[in-house]
Symmetry: C2
DNA sequence: GAGTGGTCTAGACCACGAG
DNA sequence: TCGTGGTCTAGACCACTCA
């Protein structure tokens, strides 16, 4: 409560936020150049850039080097459905999502070997999914399976649904799916691939599927931008056994 | 791969990271002043501050205005157990967590009313939990229940376990627990309460518990710093019905 | 090549914390 | 009061995009 409006950049960010939400600045539109904005608000360029960084962290604008600052399209919110849904995928409310998949063969090492509970240098297959909502990237998923559970032939170009179905057919019945979620800032690489600011928080979901004999048959790492996605877990309780929890 | 080492501040941050991980800088210790560090690395103060901001975003250091930059204590990782566990609480691996609770009566409004599916201005009781790991705050939880499901008398000082048990006893059997998770940067208020950087991502869990007649009996908003907490959901599958997924 | 954002400098002044 | 971090200035130079 010491300072309601401590700094210049918050005031500028607030003004721009209002202009965006009231529609005076329309989506997709380019903002005036940083030099022009700095002149208009009578601040130095670093201060104006700090103001833009706030909006960037909220996912309201997108900076494109050499080209300008743009109002982002209103975000199609994506909900990751977890818990029980073995074939967990993202759900888009209305828009059409296109997914591109690429495949790589590699060998387990370090944390990846630990995650899959295999020996280092075990052969794995990686499926890299990049999900687009229109023209903007929307989520990044890396799926790892032991090589012997991966299909021998991969369609070219691979399609997400086909790959997923093929994987499921090769797989023994699942016993447990574990999903670990945390929040962090993206690495520069992740930010570049997803075209988001390095200061926009991301949701990272690490999903590990285990079969009945305890073998890890799939590990997936999902990276979801925090401004346009969340994860939902619903747990139903049987009415009569609801009180059996110790 | 376009830029292996794009900027000065990353080099400085990397150097400080190494000094921290190799123990040349010990936990709790104060770093030299920013002016001294700037002189040592031969950079301007804003550049040095940018380097520190990177470490701050990783939760490695804590800035205390007027006092200095300090190496943070190695984080006791907290895991939020979700999904099925009705009385979801945080688990600390070893350290002892102390929780302070305060109670407020208020009336539903806006998003809160929507969350609890009650009419605006319905009476609610808020329980504000602040969880400490030693001296540093660790998580912030706001729990809202309709007033008629809240205990008439609140012990003073309220204890977390007693409050939780009392709430459970007043409550009809639960039918469903829904947990929605997302990632964002903290508000200035949240950052201040949790004593974290405004550039450290947080995990926000919104948990809504519904009873058998569809009434929302509790809504909780948990704020967990991303560097020291994650959420875990485990789903077991019955072996025989594992293939029923079309 | 013109215009854009990305990074950095060398200082100034203010606000906070502790003695 | 003094040293600390917090904010800001007015420029400089580089890297990228697009015509």
């Amino acid at each position: 409560m010491t300072h309601p409006a401590p700094s210049r950049r918050h005031a500028i960010a607030e003004d721009l936020r209002n202009q965006i939400s009231t529609g005076r600045l329309r989506v997709g539109e380019r903002l005036p150049s940083e030099a022009q904005l700095a002149a208009r608000y009578k601040v130095s360029t670093p201060t104006l850039r700090n103001a833009l960084a706030l909006l960037q962290g909220e996912g309201l604008i997108e900076k494109i080097h050499g080209s300008g600052n743009f109002i982002r399209h209103p975000l199609h919110k994506i909900t990751y459905l977890g818990g029980g849904h073995t074939r967990a995928v993202q759900l888009a409310p209305d828009g059409v999502l296109s997914v591109s998949v690429s495949t790589t063969n590699l060998r387990a090492q370090g944390p990846l070997a630990t995650l899959l509970k295999v020996a280092p240098r075990s052969p794995l297959t990686e499926f890299l999914h990049l999900c687009h909502d229109g023209t903007t990237p929307h989520s990044l998923t890396r799926v790892y399976v032991p090589r012997d559970l991966a299909p021998a032939v991969i369609p070219d170009p691979p399609s997400c649904s086909v790959v997923t179905a093929t994987l499921a057919s090769l797989r023994p019945p699942l016993a447990e799916v574990q999903e670990r979620i945390n929040a962090r800032l993206p690495t520069p690489e992740e930010a570049a691939v997803l075209r988001i600011s390095q200061s926009l928080a991301i949701l990272v979901i690490t999903r590990v599927a285990t079969d009945v004999i305890g073998r890890v048959v799939e590990a997936a790492i999902l990276v979801l931008p925090g401004d346009r996605s969340d994860a939902l877990f619903a747990t139903r309780h049987a009415p009569e056994e609801g009180n059996s929890n110790k």
